[in-house]
Amino acid sequence: MLDLLKGPVLTFQEFILLSGRAIRGVVRKPYYWDDLSIQMDLIGVGSLPVVILTGFFSGAVMALQMSRALQTYGATSQVGQIVAITLVREMGPVLTALMVAGRNASGMASELGSMKVTEQIDAMRALGTDPVMKLVKPRLMATAIVLPMLTVLADFLGLVGGWLVACILLGLTTTTQYWNSSWRSLEYNDIAQGLLKPFVFAIVLSLVGCYYGMQTTGGTQGVGRSTTQAVVVASVWVVVLTFLIGRIFVSM
């Protein structure tokens, strides 16, 4: 039993160590600005298509599924509110984070993993650069900056998708009422939650991606293994954390 636990506990301990070094590194020199802008481009611009599509369709699907229930209660005018609240609090942050986990946490794990198995990480240390500062820190910072922005974009496009379905396709309510009810339903609390979540997800998924990359062993096969692990672990963390953060906000 103890032996079974030993592996995960060790992994978690190493992960915390790496995270500590990377997060402390954020306020320390050296800064590799080139690497930061490359990563922001890769994660931000690169994820635009998939984030736009998932955001738009998650709003559309929500309006569609809610329409029948709302009609039963004769509350179709509330559709904007329902779409807005679920999107901003939950669906926007989680779906965007899952997409970025699939694209970028895996990308980080496979890129750093191949660097590890071809001794490029060793070479970095031998030639005077700290891989945590040069590789992990730019990825962490880039994700933390970009993911909240992507989430806001996904939220907005989700509202547009909901509007198309609710007002144009099904005619549940008027355009003015849709936007009014969605805008008024959002409280300060929702916005805070909707921005805090992607920020936390960004930190976790970039660090998970980098961690699994940096601890890759066993050649090309090992790289594949790390990549899969990174996506699975990052995705699970996202859904667990959204519950924990949501729990805190609900009790507030």
């Binding site: 490029q120 031998a126 005077g128």
Partner: protein, 265 residues
């Protein structure tokens, strides 16, 4: 004068049984140590210990007269600035061009602080040294295995390090290319008087280091003359333990069955 590198009873493991056990040796300035051993005997681990990329479980390591066993990572960068290394897997950055790869230690070793205007010249000189002056703007994936190995050597020597570590420089190369690589290692050793530690599977590689010198005038190898010595020592690792440490002559004359498998008959 102080030894360049000393291992004093060094042991190491990855948590799954010992990888190196009680390894002790020392290399003096200008000496060459050839590290023989079968696959998995611990050669790469030994070199990584000497670079501070791994930390010994017990024992002491001294570099340039300084005890480096318990240095933290930031202090290690100063020591590593004095060491050049060729990794077994190459370790070339595949997102950078050849010129950027070779310039990397000049730009990044915090302690070297090379003047910016000299960097290009040094990179060009180093690539000329390995006869790859025409590849500056290529990326590693566009070069053959042997050429990548040569770029690795150019990057290792570009800072004029006092100690050079080569990890299996001829592994996976055809005999002709392998001999070209060995000639480059000799050239660096004899032109710049570099202290050299080379891991290899091939007995010939060691013999080349023992029997030849680089002749600058004719730009080729020449056999060592009588009374001349290349000051070369052999070390043979067997499953992480030292099976032999001594002169090449003792190595070839050894009656030990395991050593005889590696020695020339």
């Amino acid at each position: 004068m102080d030894a360049v590198l000393v291992f004093d009873n060094v042991s190491f493991d990855f948590g799954l049984g010992p990888v190196l056990q009680n390894v002790s040796f020392s290399i003096s300035p200008g000496e060459t140590l050839v590290l023989h051993g079968a696959a998995g005997s611990g050669k790469t681990v030994l070199l990584k210990l000497a670079l501070g990329l791994l930390r010994p479980v017990s024992g002491r390591i001294l570099l340039f007269g300084q005890d480096v066993t318990n240095l933290d990572e930031s202090e290690w960068y100063d020591v590593r600035a004095r060491i050049g290394v060729l990794f077994q897997e190459g370790g070339l950055f595949d997102s950078l061009t050849i010129a950027e790869n070779v310039a990397y230690p000049l730009l990044n070793q915090p302690r070297l602080k090379f003047p910016m205007d000299q960097i290009d010249a040094r990179v060009a000189r180093s690539l000329e040294f390995v006869e790859l002056g025409h590849t500056l703007e290529k990326v590693p994936s566009e070069l053959s295995g042997g050429m990548r190995r040569r770029v690795g050597i150019a990057r290792a020597i570009v800072t004029s390090p006092e100690l050079l570590l080569y990890d299996s420089p001829t592994a996976g190369l055809d005999p002709i290319t392998a001999n070209t690589i060995m000639a480059l290692i000799l050239k660096e050793r004899d032109e710049n008087n570099a202290t050299t530690l080379m891991a290899t599977h091939r007995h010939q590689d060691g013999e080349i280091l023992v029997r030849y010198r680089w002749d600058k005038r004719t730009a080729s190898l020449r056999p060592v003359g009588p009374g001349e010595s290349t000051r070369t020592k052999y070390l043979l690792l067997r499953d992480g333990r030292i099976a032999f440490l001594g002169t090449p002559e003792e190595f070839d004359a050894s009656r030990d069955e395991y050593v005889m498998q590696f020695a020339s008959r």
